[in-house]
Amino acid sequence: MQKSISKVAFTWRLILSVLVVSSLISCENSNTVGGGVVDSAGIRIDTVSVPDFQQNGSDIFSGKLQSLPIGEYNDPLYGSSRSIAYFKPSLGPARDASLSLLSDFILKLQINNNLHYGDTSQVANYSVYKVTERWRGNTISSTDNISFDTSELLGSFSYQNEDSVSITLSQSLLEEYAEYVNNDSSNVDSLYNFEFFGIAIVPDNVSAQIIYPNIIGSEFLTIRRSTQDSVSINLQDYAFTLDRQNTPMFPNRLYLNNYLESFYSINFETVANNLSNENILRAELVLYEDADQISTSLPQNHIRPETRFLDLKFASESELRYDLQFTTTDFVGVLDTTDNTFRFNVTNHINNYIFGSPDERELYLNINPNGGIFNSTILFDNTSTAAMRPKLILTIEE
C-alpha cells in the first residue's frame, strides 16, 4: 500500500511539473485572428476651418545678415524692390602694415550666383558712393534711410552671372581711410567710428536684378602697386536698406514676405475649445500656395527665389520683430510640391489647449528672413474656394 502511494505521489509531482512547464512555454503573443469579433481601434479624420489670419506689417533688422541684397527689380507680382548695401572696412590688419597710398583699394564681393532675383538676361550696373551719416549694422532696419553723397562716384561695376566681382575704389576713399589706418593716436578707433561711415553700393535705375553677395568670402583689399602685395581687410560692418514701391494687394489671398512687410497672426483657442477632451493624434494646419499665380507671373529669363519653408511661431509682442527674425520657429511648414501645400504639425499646441492651459497662444505666420535672401509667397485665404482654404486636418482616435 505504502509503495503504491509513493507511486501516486510521484505521478502527481510529474503531472504538476508538466502542467507548470507547459503553461510557461505555451504562453504566446496575440494574433490577428478575431478582427470580425473585436472591432479594431479606429481613427477618424476631421477637417475643420481655421480662424481668419490677421495681417501685420513691419520691417526687419537688415544689418549683419549672411547675405546682402543689392539691386533693383520690379517684380510683376510683388512690386518693386530697390536694395542698397552698405559696407565699412575694419581698421584691423591694415594698421600694422602702414597703408601706402601707392596702393589700389578694392572691394571684392563673393556672389551667390544661384540666388538671383530678376532678369538674368540683363546686365546690372551698380555705383559706389560715400556714406555721409553714421549707421550701425546691429540696429539698422530695412526701411531706414541712410544718406550718401552721389556727387562723387567712388567706383562702379556691372554684373551678369559671375561668381564674384572686384570693385576698384577711388584714390580719395583710400586716402581718407589711410588717415585712420596710419594714425597712431590712442583715440583713432573712436574717431574712425564717428567720422568714417563706409560706402554704399547703389543700383542704377535701369538695373533689373538683385544679387546676393555672401559675406563669407567678401572683403576689402589693398594691393601695393609696386609689389602687388595684397592685404585683406575684414568687413567691420555691413547692412542693407530696402525701398518698396507698388506694394501689392491680393484679394482672397494671404501675402507673405520675409522682410516682414506682410505677415499674419492666428489663434487656435476657439477651434481647440470645440474639441474638448478629444484624443487628437495629429493636428495638421494645411495652407495652399497659389502656385499658378506665382509661376505664371514671371516673364521669360526672370527668376525669383522659391519659398520652401514657412514659420509658425510664438513671439512676444514687445520683441515681435526680433522674435520673428531670430528665434527658432515652433512649427515649420515645408512646401509639398505635389499639392503645393505647406503643412504644420500643431498637435502639441492643440493638445495644450484641450488638456492644459498654454502659456503662449498667439501664433505668427511668416517666412523666415533667411539671411537676407528675399522670399515671398501668396496663399489662399478663408474667402477662397472651399477646397483651397486654410484648414486643420485632425486625426482623432475613436
Binding site: 503504491s4 501516486v8 494574433n31 490577428t32 488638456f355
Partner: protein, 429 residues
C-alpha cells in the same frame, strides 16, 4: 502525503506569480470575452468540469463546491479549495489562424461546519465573468488621396468578481437549503493601441476602465432520497436560483499626452455612468449514486442574458441572447476498494456538456461543446478527505462563417482540496 501537498502549494505559488506577470505579456483567452463584462464562467470544480456538469446536484464530501449553496450544511469537515485553470486556444477565422493561452487562478472557497452535518458557512472569492482578449489588426484609412496605415491592438482584461459569504442548512435527511449573498466587483480594463507606420502621427494607447460594485443573491435547494432503486442508492435533485445583479458602473478613458513640456496622463472625453446587469440564472440537476463506487449526473442551467444590460455599448447589449448549459457525466471511484493496485488509487470522471452561448454575433450563436475527463487523488489518511482533482477538457466553440472565430480549446483544471477536522476537540488519540 504532506510532501505532495507541499510540492503542490509550491507549484501554485509559482503559478500565481506567473499569472500576474503574464497578464502584462498579453496572453489571452477567448475573443468572445470582448462582449459586455466578459465571458460568463461556471465556477464548477475540476471534478465537476471532468464530469461535464455544473455541480447543482452533485457534491463530494472531500471538496467544497460553489455551484449549489445547499451543499454547505452537509458534512463535518472544514474544507478549503483553490481552483486553477489553464487553457490553450487554437483559433482561426476566414483570414488567418493562431493560438492563445491563458493561465489563471479560478476560485477560492472555504466551508466551515458551524453545526456538524447541519449548518455550514461558506466564504468564497471567485470570478463571475472574465474578459481576456488580445487582438491585432492591420487597418488603412484613406485621407486626401493617401493611405494612413496603422496597426490596431485591443487588449481586455477583468470582469466581475464576487466575494461571497453564505450559509447552507441541512433541514433534514431529505432537504437542504442554501443562501449566498455576495458583494460583486466589476473591474474591466481595455487598452486600445494604435501604431502608425507613418511616423508623422503619434502612436497612442487609450485605457478604458470600467468600475462598479453591487450586491447579489443566490439560493440553493437540495432534495435527497435513499433506497429508491436499491438499498444503497442515493438520488439527489438540486436547484439553484441567482437573482440579477445590477451595477451602477462608471467608465473613464485615459491616455498619455505631452502637455506643455511634460508627458501627462489625461482623461479623454467625460466620465460616463451606465447600467450594467448580470442576468437571472436558474439551474437544476439530478445525480444518482447507485453505490459508493459510481455516480452519474445530468444538469441544466438557463441564464436570461437577453435581459442583461450593458449601457456602455448598445451593440454589445444587443448581442446578448439567453444561454442554456446542459451537462451529462459520471464518476467511478475504485479507490474505495482500498486496493493496492496503482490505478485503483484514483477516482475517474468523464462527461460532455453543451453551451448555447450568451451572445449572438453576426446572426451566429457562439456555441460550445465540451468533452471532458479527469482524475482525482484522495488522501489515504482516514481522518482526512483532502484531494487533488485534475480535469482535461477539449472544447469546440464558434465558427469561421460570418467572419467569426472558431476556437479549439484545450483546458486543464486543477482543484486542490484540503479537508480536515478543524475546531473539534479529539476525544481519542
Amino acid at each position: 502525503m504532506k510532501s505532495i501537498f507541499l510540492s503542490v502549494f509550491t507549484c501554485l505559488m509559482f503559478f500565481s506569480t506567473n499569472v500576474l506577470a503574464q497578464e502584462d505579456e498579453g496572453n489571452s483567452g477567448t475573443v468572445y470575452s470582448k462582449y459586455g463584462t466578459g465571458f460568463p464562467l461556471l465556477n464548477n470544480t475540476a471534478q465537476e468540469k471532468a464530469m461535464g456538469i455544473i455541480g447543482i446536484s452533485f457534491n463530494d464530501l472531500g471538496s467544497p463546491g460553489l455551484s449549489n449553496p445547499a451543499f454547505w450544511g452537509i458534512g463535518a469537515f472544514s474544507k478549503i479549495a483553490a481552483n486553477f485553470d489553464f487553457a490553450n486556444y487554437s483559433v482561426k477565422d476566414s483570414f488567418s489562424n493562431g493560438s492563445n493561452s491563458l493561465l489563471k487562478i479560478g476560485s477560492f472557497q472555504a466551508v466551515f461546519p458551524l453545526s456538524k452535518n447541519q449548518l455550514g458557512l461558506s466564504i468564497g472569492l471567485y470570478p463571475e465573468t472574465r474578459s481576456s482578449y488580445n487582438v491585432n489588426s492591420e487597418e488603412t484609412v484613406i485621407q486626401g488621396g493617401s493611405n494612413i496605415n496603422f496597426l490596431s491592438n485591443r487588449t481586455g482584461t477583468g470582469g466581475v468578481t464576487k466575494f461571497e459569504v453564505g450559509l447552507g442548512w441541512k433541514i433534514n435527511q431529505r432537504i437542504s437549503l442554501g443562501y449566498a449573498p455576495s458583494y460583486s466587483f466589476l473591474t474591466e480594463s481595455e487598452d486600445a493601441s494604435l501604431t502608425f507606420l507613418n511616423q508623422n502621427i503619434s502612436n497612442n494607447t487609450v485605457n478604458r476602465r470600467i468600475n462598479g460594485t453591487s450586491v447579489s443573491h443566490r439560493f440553493g435547494l437540495l432534495l435527497s432520497e435513499r433506497g429508491i432503486f436499491g438499498k444503497e442508492d442515493i438520488i439527489q435533485i438540486g436547484g439553484t436560483l441567482t437573482l440579477p445583479t445590477n451595477f451602477d458602473a462608471s467608465q473613464k478613458k485615459t491616455t498619455t499626452k505631452i502637455v506643455g513640456t511634460e508627458s501627462e496622463v489625461v482623461e479623454i472625453g467625460t466620465a460616463q455612468n451606465a447600467d450594467i446587469s448580470l442576468p437571472l440564472k436558474m439551474g437544476a440537476g439530478i445525480s444518482y449514486f447507485p453505490n459508493s463506487k459510481f455516480n452519474a449526473s445530468v444538469e441544466f442551467q438557463t441564464e436570461k442574458w437577453s435581459e442583461a444590460e450593458y449601457g456602455f455599448s448598445s451593440s454589445d447589449e444587443s448581442a446578448f441572447v439567453d444561454r442554456n448549459v446542459f451537462g451529462l457525466g459520471f464518476q467511478y471511484h475504485p479507490y474505495k476498494d482500498r486496493s493496492s493496485k496503482f490505478l485503483s488509487n484514483f477516482k475517474y470522471s468523464a462527461g460532455v456538456s453543451y453551451d448555447t452561448g450568451h451572445i449572438k454575433v453576426n446572426n451566429e450563436e457562439v456555441e460550445t461543446l465540451w468533452l471532458s475527463a479527469g482524475l482525482g487523488l484522495i488522501s489515504p489518511n482516514l481522518r482526512s478527505n483532502s484531494s487533488f482533482d485534475l480535469s482535461f477538457q477539449y472544447g469546440f466553440r464558434g465558427t469561421t462563417s460570418q467572419n467569426l472565430v472558431e476556437e479549439r480549446i484545450f483546458g486543464i483544471n486543477l482543484s486542490v482540496n484540503l479537508t480536515e477536522l478543524m475546531f473539534l476537540r479529539r476525544k481519542l488519540n
